[in-house]
């Protein structure tokens, strides 16, 4: 549970369409300081789009987004400044292939935030150490496994000292044996009190990490619940069906 009621992110009546198709149909959501919110829902229900709207990668149709009380959906928003406060890690490894690990990490702090390089290196090294990549600073992305790349991507976002981190299915493209190492990093971040908004299909992880579960379907938030309550006894029929289908698929996958 959030031990501080301070609101980091407040989304009000967010609507977003692609061409004439509405993808987000009025989203209302608040994320408190140090709170871990996990969004789950069927593929195509708008989870990625929601995260992408939060840092301005997608323009929105209507509604409001506030970050620490500052309205960031007003015209003339300086997105570069906002994005420094919102860390994002995507599903596909998106390190810059022409830069080694440390230069990937330093681009933001040094070029965008103008921090002294030496100081940023110390910070980066300590994060790399914490995610188990201490000796990988000079490796290039092509020399890393998928799990290592995602851990670097997480460190790269963390080194901007964001006020909230967004994770969009960061383990979805990983080989099964690498999922664990990335989820462990995220669990540790949660324990450390980082404010996080996580989209995932890993239900056991969701249950373990979440302060709160948001269930989305077809552009709506259908259910908001405590993790135990949600997984043991979902309130809505749609959530129940989703969990059933999901468990079935999970069994199939394990058997395969």
């Amino acid at each position: 549970m959030p031990d501080n009621p301070q609101v980091v992110l407040k989304i009000t009546d967010l609507v977003k369409s692609f061409d004439s198709t509405k993808v987000l149909k009025g989203i209302n959501l608040t994320v408190g300081h140090r709170e871990v919110t996990v969004i789950i829902g069927p593929s195509g229900c708008g989870k990625s789009t929601l995260l992408r709207c939060l840092n301005g990668l997608e323009p929105i149709d209507s509604g409001q987004i506030e970050l620490n009380g500052q309205l960031i959906t007003a015209p003339g928003t300086n997105w570069s400044a906002i994005r420094q406060k919102i860390g994002m890690v995507f599903q596909n490894y998106e390190l810059f292939p022409h830069l080694n690990v440390i230069d990937n990490i330093l681009l933001g702090p040094v070029k965008v935030q103008g921090r002294p390089r030496q100081e940023a290196i110390i910070d980066a090294q300590s994060w790399l150490d914490r995610v188990g990549l201490k000796d990988r600073a000079l490796s290039f992305p092509r020399q890393l496994s998928g799990g290592q790349k995602q851990r670097v991507a997480i460190v790269r976002a963390l080194c901007m000292s964001p006020q909230i981190m967004l994770f969009d299915e960061v383990t979805a493209s990983l080989d099964p044996e690498m999922v664990r190492e990335v989820l462990d990093v995220m669990l540790n971040l949660a324990k450390g009190g980082l404010t996080m908004l996580i989209v995932t299909h890993e239900m056991a992880f969701a249950r373990a990490v979440a302060d709160r579960i948001i269930f989305m379907d077809d552009g709506h938030i259908v259910e908001t619940a405590q993790p135990e309550a949600f997984f043991n006894n979902p309130e809505t029929e749609r959530a129940r069906r989703f969990l059933n289908i999901f468990q079935f698929q999970e069994l199939e996958r394990r058997r395969a």
Binding site: W79, R83, F90, P97, H98, L107, V112, R156
Partner: protein, 225 residues
Amino acid sequence: MLDSAIEIFTAGRNTARLFEGLAITLKISAAAVGLSILLGIPAGLLMSSKKRFWRVSLKLYLEFIRIMPILVLLFLFYYSLSSVFNINLPAVTVSILVFTLWGTAEMADLVRGAVTSLPRHQWESGRALGLSELQLNLFVIVPQAVRRLLPGVINLTTRMIKTTPFVFFINIPDLVKVAQQIVEVTGIRNPLASVWVYGVIFFIYFAICYPISLFSRFLEKAWQN
């Protein structure tokens, strides 16, 4: 046998003229490659942009240039400009113009290919870090596009050098033209003239183009990450 070679390359200004021919070949190629790169980059960015007018018209231009034999273009500009429009351009200028028209089309296509082959995520993850559009291009997009562009540009350069002998047909004394003249004159007394002269030409082309491709391989290796 060696005597015949010595005789050819010491007679009159033969060697000096070969070097003059080489200078013309290099001048035309270098000017055309340089101009093609300068004009091809913006053209390629327009081709990969969302601007439909530019995409379509540049694509048409590229197809047209590719279909047209270089020789036809050379004749068209050299002879037709003067007879129809009464514009008399020096032959070297015409050849640089024609090779630039061709090179710009090819260069634009290379740039388009390099930029569109970059995954969309490269832009997005750069933006997500707060990079401005300028920083994004400077630190993320351009360095990667240049790496992808390099083999094509090197290839275009050597193709350009190898195609310059066509200027022979508009009477420019390039390397091959000079060689032919030397063979014509010395061949009467010296039956091995063609072997020696064209053999030297062969090595000159090799000596120019091979280091270029070596250099490109070196850069590719250095950037391979």
